[in-house]
């Protein structure tokens, strides 16, 4: 990643001036995040100024297709949903190793390939175990 942009790319950088600096790049990211929140807030405020406000008891009730809601929704739910979240976390952790490896794998060569192969094989064994235990079933 240390090599500079190509000759063609460098010429373009001079024409329209991409952000050159590390700090400034992330400053952009932060500003975009803030702008998103501010935009949503502004849109809702404008909407709030022009909309009618007639609150009735009916409107304040939870909508469940016309039925009377029975109790809060925050009840007990079957926990096999949890297995998928769990598997996802494990594969997400795999991803944080995959990205650095993918950038450098030409230099690491067969050595890196075997390392990553073993790593993925062990995780796939876990996936296979979950499959055998019927944990991948969504009822």
């Amino acid at each position: 990643m240390s090599a500079g942009p190509s000759e063609r790319g460098r010429r373009r950088l001079n024409t329209l001036a991409a952000v050159p600096d590390y700090n400034l790049s992330y400053f952009y990211v932060v500003v975009f995040f803030g702008a998103g929140a501010i935009f949503v807030a502004a849109l809702l405020t404008v909407s709030g100024l022009v909309q009618p406000k007639k609150r009735t008891a009916e409107k304040a009730r939870i909508y469940e297709s016309g039925e009377e809601p029975v109790g809060p929704a925050w009840g007990r739910y079957p926990i096999h949903f949890y297995v998928f979240a769990l598997l996802f976390v494990v594969f997400d952790v795999e991803v944080i190793f995959l990205f650095p490896w993918a950038v450098l794998f030409r230099d690491l060569g067969w050595y890196g390939l075997v390392e990553m192969g073993i790593f993925i094989f062990i995780l796939v064994a876990g996936l296979f175990y979950a499959w055998r235990k019927e944990a991948l079933k969504w009822f």
């Binding site: 700090n23 007990r76 926990i79 949890y82 769990l86 976390v89 494990v90 997400d92 952790v93 944080i96 190793f97």
Partner: protein
């Protein structure tokens, strides 16, 4: 050239967050909040690792490598910790660590 934040400030912030997390673990009785506080403590150590790795100039990127392994441990810890909480909750619908006493001898 921009002014740099001194290393000490990062370490102090890391320590502050670590002790906030520790206080949470000692003070709260909801098992899930305790797990959250453990995550805060792990995150505080991550900040210290990255700060030392970037600013001390002794360890090049190795401090950051350690952080990656801390991520692995944190993910595994939360996965198993929550599974234990859920399994205990199934026996008795509570997440209060004072009330879960079945493991006592």
């Amino acid at each position: 050239m921009t002014t740099l934040v001194p290393l000490g400030a990062f370490i102090a912030l890391s320590a502050a967050l670590f002790f906030i997390g520790m206080a949470g673990v000692l003070v709260r009785r909801n098992a899930i909040v305790i797990l959250m506080c453990v995550e805060l403590m792990l995150n505080a150590t991550n900040l210290a690792f990255v700060a030392f790795s970037r600013r001390l100039g002794l360890l090049d990127e190795r401090g950051s490598v350690f952080v990656v392994f801390v991520f692995v441990v944190a993910a595994a810890e939360v996965a198993v910790g929550l599974a234990i909480v859920l399994a205990a909750y199934r026996n008795r619908p509570t997440v209060d660590v004072d009330e879960v006493t079945e493991m006592k001898g």
